[in-house]
Symmetry: C2
Subunit: 444 residues, 2 copies
């Protein structure tokens, strides 16, 4: 019996008190795995738990699963569960279902809660406003440590775990933060204004989530406040939201580099996969046709020296690989913010030199191979020079194309690879076959 099977048995046979004990020890993610494995028992299993715990399970579920799980329950219980869900997860769920159902659910909510969620829904999902939660603990600067502790005892069970306490004025403008450790380690009659940190780093609600995650990575914060233009505090983003953003952005980078839509899912439908990939393959078809057209310029030459066709895969294959190396380094460097105005020239100089040296080494190898193959030193010279030039082209296009795209406001991961391989293919063939045409008398 595996772990999920055992857990399923335990839950189905548990008394109310055993279930209540279980909610203390069982992570909602683990229950979620049981639900995924035993779809037919989802209702029977979830029903045994209190609404608050069901809400935690739905909070942890994947975006597509949330509403499916919620729909197992009758309307009245649905609203109870919703009132216990995290605001950010609830808004994500509601943003992902049809508008009629969304309005019906919003109408069933208490006014204050509904307004909060409607505000969250008004932000674009990939911005700070779109990922923040509205559960945070706010206090006034005139409170003492002891008053704050009492206040926390009253309200904390309804808020996301408080890592910081936010000090707001009467207009909800953020004045400072009080770290939990300051509350734990200060004497009871100290005023919050004497322990709070001012000049708090804040995130504007409109900031793109990728920039938000860069700030979290740079400073190592556990949570950051999100504010509007007037510094009015709207919500918080915690580091676990950022872990998800990081993972999503990673998938996006890898997928875009490979020509996949970032929405494609590994267990999605055939139709979705084709919709994700065929457009990109068609773009590549056009660039491949450009490469073929370049070759066709020289078909008279090839018909006289067939060995040129034999060596064609060498020139372009190697050019594509070397270009991808430089390209990947630059794209990752852009994403990590490692490239700035000053080191750009240094990097270009290095990449150019690497291209020249790779070109010299690989050019020499293929010159010898080609010369021996054809028993003709000039043939070796032609393929060697072509390889050399293609390595330099690869280095330069791998460097300039992503930076140029970035400057034009296009995600370099999205379009660089196709441009770089077009350069190395088209120019690679052009130099190889063009040089061969010039030297034709020596090749026959």
């Amino acid at each position: 019996m595996n772990r999920e099977e055992k857990l399923r048995e335990t839950i189905l046979q548990a008394s109310l008190n055993e279930i209540l004990d279980l909610t203390e020890e069982l992570h909602p993610v683990d229950l979620l795995e049981v639900l995924q494995e035993y779809e037919e028992d989802q209702k029977a299993l979830l029903e045994k738990f209190p609404d608050e715990y069901i809400a935690m399970v739905i909070d942890e579920a994947e975006l597509d699963e949330k509403f499916i799980l919620l729909s197992l329950f009758p309307s009245k219980q649905k609203q109870e569960i919703i009132s216990e869900m995290s605001s950010d997860e609830l808004a994500d769920m509601l943003g992902n279902i049809d508008e009629d159902t969304q309005s019906r659910i919003l109408e069933g909510m208490e006014e204050e809660h509904r307004e909060e969620i409607e505000e969250l829904l008004s932000f674009s999902p990939e911005t700070a406003g779109g990922i923040m939660a509205t559960e945070f603990v706010s206090v006034k600067e005139t409170m003492t440590i002891d008053e704050t502790l009492k206040f926390l005892r009253d309200i904390a069970p309804n808020a996301e775990t408080p890592y910081y306490i936010y000090v707001l004025d009467d207009q909800d403008v953020l004045k400072g933060i009080v770290p939990i450790r300051a509350i734990l380690t200060s004497l009871p009659d100290v005023l919050l204004k004497d322990v709070m940190l001012e000049n708090v780093a804040t995130i504007p609600a409109s900031m793109d989530q990728e920039d938000v995650s860069n700030i979290f990575q740079k400073y190592g914060y556990m949570a950051m406040p999100v504010v509007d233009e007037e510094q009015v505090m709207l919500g918080i983003i915690t580091v676990d939201d950022i872990m998800e953003v990081l993972s999503d952005e990673h998938t996006e980078d890898m997928y875009r580099l490979a020509g996949l839509d970032e929405e494609e899912e590994i267990d999605g439908s055939v139709l979705d996969s084709i919709r994700s990939r065929l457009p990109w393959l068609l773009v590549n078809l056009v660039t491949a046709i450009l490469a073929s057209a370049t070759v066709s310029l020289f078909d008279a030459t090839i018909s006289k020296v067939v060995a040129l066709a034999v060596f064609m895969p060498l020139v372009t294959g190697m050019g594509g690989n070397a270009g991808t190396q430089t390209l990947t380094l630059i794209i990752r460097g852009i994403a990590l913010g490692e490239i700035d105005y000053e080191n750009k020239k240094e990097i270009l100089r290095k990449e150019f030199l690497v291209g020249v040296l790779h070109g010299a080494a690989l050019g020499l190898i293929v010159a010898i191979l080609g010369g021996l193959w054809e028993g003709n030193a000039v043939f070796g010279l032609v393929i060697g020079v072509a390889m050399f030039l293609n390595m330099v082209i690869a280095a330069l296009s791998g460097f300039f194309i992503p930076l140029l795209l970035k400057k034009m406001g296009i995600d370099p991961a999205l379009a660089s690879a196709v441009f770089v391989t077009t350069m190395t293919d088209v120019l690679g063939f052009f130099f190889f076959l063009g040089f061969a045409t010039l030297m034709l008398t020596y090749l026959l």
Copy 2:
């Protein structure tokens, strides 16, 4: 005047009290940026700060920078700074310098501290033991909330921010955890054993850091305890350590897919770049030679129908791209743990069907193009069938090769791309030129 320039001025002119105020507001990462921009002022700037703050700056510095910054100070102050550094950062720094200097520094440390750091150094850097810190707050289960609060007031300033309090028995075996919120929200005379959570999820010290980061991502923990085989608590890993691991693993995946060594740095030396990339280019040269050798089998055919050489880039270019799409999806799916025994067959069926449908669509397009180009329907048929077959080969090799490598214990990101393109190149040429040879009488 930019931000770093202004900060440099402020610091150099600040009085002791102004500096002390600044340490409250200035994030060490921001000072680090000033130090990176004004290398000549590093000593003058850092000297103005108290040892504790200098330690925080060195904690935040990149691995290579840490010891350089520390070396700005005389021996005695060095040891003071070291005693204030985070144990995990200190161990990383010491693991990165020559053994003589390491021993000298260790000898200068207080015994207890030295033993802690020597234990950290004994773990491999990419395991849980290698990334954990030894600063955590531990208590006994017989303490009350009020006693715990008093205890925290005494010791917390020396520990990393406590998110959890760990309850240990007399042998340092982990019995449970007390969330900070329980301390804040429980009444003063409650015993810890009544609020502590038992069955705590722990990390074995030998666990690979990638597995550790998967657990953090799955459960959304802020910190987790690291234990030895007897459940004796050794240290904690916090989520900010995990963010670094995630970013490093992401770089590693992208670099390996592109044929770069994961140690390569964007602003490294030319020699390091060549050492990172040339071996991979040489592996690719061998596979490109295989492709060329395949073409050479059919040079008699090409010499009669030069248009075959013109269309060669189409077949292999498209095969490589389609193969990379499937490959990337599978590699990312493996990394995210999205592929299991059950959905494997589903995914294969889908990828195969996608390959067949892409092959049909693209095969039809190039058949028409090829037929028109040569004014020969059979030529169109040959290129169309070759394209169709290559799309199916791309789908199958993009699916099986990474899974096979994974089974053999090889990182699929490291070696898949070269095998997949070899398959699509070699088999692509073989089918295209082979079929053309069979149909040769109709192509002339």
